[in-house]
Symmetry: C2
Subunit: 559 residues, 2 copies
């Protein structure tokens, strides 16, 4: 017996931990339970001792104000009851909201249930509750104040939930560090269950934060994240394992469900040879958006999209992403030319539809536009053509697209980009319509990058769409550059203001023209009322319009 | 000397405290500073020793994510510097955000500056940070953990900020009570500066909470609230003074700016003979909505409103409220009849405009509607008239109203009620358009009450508008009751679900039909995507759609 190599010896006694990276659906208890039970069964079949699911797996994340409904919390605990009997041979860690038994404080905890032998053995609660950007956890949850490791097969698990590992920054957001509290009990490993939303720079930050924890505590770390889209929030997965030296042992797939089993002793002992694949920012944005569209439709039970195809780059990129997400035959491209549309715009849009092999129709808006002009003539009192007539065209298009959407059950995709949304360069109830904004968190310069990325192997988007100067084509010879600075400059200023929260003084100090900076910042703030009414925008940046950026509408700051 | 009566003796030595109830404007530092300096000057002239302003007076409340901008915080401290020299003879308490000097925790405090002798003497920070409904304070602020009374002219002031007095409920939301912490230092009076938003049941709750504090600590209480509207949030004012027996000494005006001076010793000594006026719920809703419209326009720098007048009760009530807020001549009422509009609807709408003496035009939508039908005919493939054509009419109206709005600088008022918004009975980009929703937080049954209240002295709204059965008039003979239950039943179910967060089981247990309850709750949840794109709704209830009710769009709860 003692002739066995250490490798085999350790292997046979080792604890095996499965990570289940799942795309949950908020409030779909039957669906989530079914996926969790399948995960438990898979873990059992793979000979795992423990299977780890994500934060708030049972309810989906974020359940938002559903958490205020007793009925919703009851359904969460009922779901856990349903899952528990499946944990006979394999233990499981599963996130869900639970009631705070203390009558003081918020009524809930954000918890991790530890299930074994068919029963809930422990609950661990989240200590650090993120309450910034898209996070509202202190709205619902009382923080944990009691710290206990979980004993399991002779090992001690330091179990934490997402943000609990994040207080390792230079300027810590919290006055306590939960793992520090647990270290007195000498844990053998860290397990963290998370719901960590994607942005195109977040993966590197997240990996670094996790590495700091593994290094600081000299403990292996098993990390399970959500994957999939919840309306605008995108979860990229990337669940991972690190050893106690902070070396990456393995990562689960990005943007897809995944399941893997790890041997704890191997993780501890072997030098990892895993080399993470490095993707470009544009590539991950691309993959995130495709997933975002696909999940939005799937989870709502829709299959078909409609969009207005102008021959411009925004609608072209949106069409390609939608075709990848839903299949080209399910994306209905409608050209809505007006008297101001250039012939190349129409040709380009037709060519795009051909390249993609998507259904395409042309519905001229001239007649409807003219009737509106005539109807309004007695009331417009001879005033010159202005923004009212420009918007009228965009709104006429919006009416036609919505009529088709209502008649046939398409979801209208919004094709506005972040630069436009920022400065209000778009028509409310016109081109700002849609059930989902695909590129509303993608600056115009990034839209160009996306187009080039899409075309890198083959010209899918006609080159002319990428190379011609952007135009809304709402009056003769109009170009975006008539009313906006070059997008390179605009986007840089917007990025400083929106993502980095720099004020006018700081931005001017970077070398931008003062009058321009003031004008841009004023436009951003003055158009809050428009953004209030836009569709949800797939979030790919660290600061997207929507739930993570909460601004007053009636205000006078920088105006 | 010792022959002086105690009354005169106390009076001559008494501290006089002024309460300044002001309508601030978020981010309008010049405007807010000017109002605060005027308040200080008024206090000085009235012989007051101390003048108290509201929570976050300098920035306006709620500044929301402007708080994440260093520049914004700098402007707050600059404003305080500008105010301080005015506090020579009179001291002042003024709310503003300040930086947390500790590098751990959130970067800001929600503070009250105590100014005297031309300088800031103390800062007191808020301990209990509301983070529910419309409140997001833990998003920005680190709670206070140090408790000190403020000495002033021989008195000790226990100064707290809004929520700090609210932990006196049966199930306390917080684990600490700031006034308990201060009581060891034997304060002589309580001062609380607040930003406590209105709802039609909140005033009584607030007064009760304040009374519990005065009674519990046997201390007089000086309470200063905001007044005025900040987009959807309405502040009713009602600043007040209580004696140490919890008796109401005086209340400042509701829904208006006000300023009063109180003698501390008189407050302590005299039995108050103040009798608060009791207003009906409908009356306060009415006054709140009028203020909400008025402030929205004033603070945005607009004077004129436009609305679609259908001859129905929703647009009628909205028109009356707008006329009261802006003056009838500034409210442009547009009738947009279709082939399905009944003649009485047109007559009723015309009569309403006459009664109010507001400008009114009729713009038939038939021609535009017909062109859309014709344009879409080849694509609709002979499918029968359905919701697509119904919405088409509403959207055609929306296009015309927005064209007039764009041409002449009107703000379009949305006229949807809360019952409709709840079940999705409205057309996105059609009748759901608008810069501001006036009655979006008012159930249909309450809209009827408002109409009766408006007509109580004189028939302003033609009786036929109130008495006829509600109809959207989008197909022949249509009535709301074709697709919805009686509003009495619908509103009761909605109130239980929305305001009280009762689940289906609880509501059915109240005696409502199970199938109906399930259908209604499903409609509410399935229409989250529509409400996401509605204009801000003036908030009059304890749970309005908008910033205080945060629901996932893609979810499957109760669907």
């Amino acid at each position: 017996m003692f002739r066995l190599t250490p490798l085999l010896f350790f292997k046979s006694n080792a604890v095996k931990i499965a990570l289940a990276q799942i795309n949950y659906h908020i409030g779909n208890f039957a669906g989530n339970v079914s996926k969790i039970v399948t995960g438990i069964r898979n873990a059992e079949q793979a000979g795992a001792d423990l299977v780890v699911f994500a934060e708030l797996a049972v309810s989906g994340y974020p359940p938002r104000d559903f958490l205020e409904f007793n009925d919703f919390i009851n359904q969460c605990s009922d779901a856990l009851e349903e899952i528990a009997p499946h944990c006979q041979k394999v233990a499981a860690i599963i996130g869900l909201p639970t009631r705070n038994p203390d009558k003081k404080g918020k009524p809930l905890h954000n918890s991790a249930a530890f299930l074994a032998q068919g029963k809930v053995q422990h609950f661990t609660h989240k200590t650090l509750l993120p309450n910034y950007d898209i996070f509202d956890e202190y709205r619902y949850f009382e923080p944990n104040r009691v710290f206990n490791i979980i004993p399991f097969k002779g090992y001690k698990i330091a179990l934490t939930i997402c943000e609990d590992l994040w207080n390792v920054q230079e300027n810590p957001l919290y006055t306590i560090n939960p793992v520090d509290e647990l270290m007195g009990q000498k844990p053998d490993l860290l397990i963290n269950i998370a719901a960590s939303p994607f942005n195109y720079r977040q993966t590197a930050i997240r990996t670094d934060v996790l590495r700091r924890n593994a290094e600081r505590y000299h403990l292996p770390l098993f990390y399970v994240n959500h994957v999939g889209a919840q309306t605008e929030l995108l979860f990229d997965g990337g669940s991972l394992v690190m050893n106690g030296r902070g070396e990456l042992v393995d990562e689960l797939t990005y943007f897809e469900e995944d399941f893997r089993v790890f041997d704890l002793d191997e993780v501890n002992r072997l030098a990892p040879n895993y080399q993470p694949v490095l993707y470009s920012e544009i590539e991950v944005i691309h993959d995130a958006l495709v997933m975002g569209i696909r999940n939005y439709f799937e989870k709502l039970g829709f299959t078909k999209a409609i969009l207005g195809s102008s021959g411009g780059i925004d609608s072209a990129v949106t069409a390609v992403l939608a075709a990848k997400a839903l299949g080209a035959k399910n994306v209905y491209s409608v050209l809505l030319p007006s008297r101001f549309s250039s012939s190349h715009s129409v040709d380009d849009a037709v060519q795009l539809a051909k390249n993609l092999n998507m259904p395409c129709d042309t519905i001229a808006i001239e007649e409807a536009f003219r009737v509106f002009e005539k109807t309004l003539e007695p009331f417009f009192k001879g005033l010159p053509f202005n923004i009212a007539e420009e918007n009228l065209q965009a709104r006429t298009r919006g009416v036609i697209l919505m009529a088709l959407s209502n008649k046939f059950g398409y979801i209208l995709l919004n094709t506005s980009n972040k630069s436009e949304a920022a400065v209000g360069y778009g028509t409310l109830y016109g081109d700002m319509n849609g059930g989902l904004s695909v590129i509303g968190d993608v600056y115009k310069t990034q839209v160009f990058e996306l187009a080039r990325f899409i075309n890198c192997k083959k010209e899918i988007i006609p080159e002319n769409i990428i190379s011609k100067p952007p135009s809304a084509e709402l009056r003769p010879g109009q170009k975006d550059s008539d009313s906006l600075p070059d997008y390179e400059i605009l986007d840089e200023i917007l990025y400083q203001y929106i993502e980095l929260r720099q004020g006018p003084k700081e931005i001017v100090a970077m070398g931008f023209d003062e009058a321009l900076v003031k004008r841009i910042l004023k436009l951003v703030n003055a158009n809050e009322h428009k953004r209030y009414q836009t569709p949800p925008m797939l979030r790919v940046s660290s600061k997207a319009f929507g739930m993570g950026r909460r601004m007053p509408i009636v205000a006078r700051y920088l105006l």
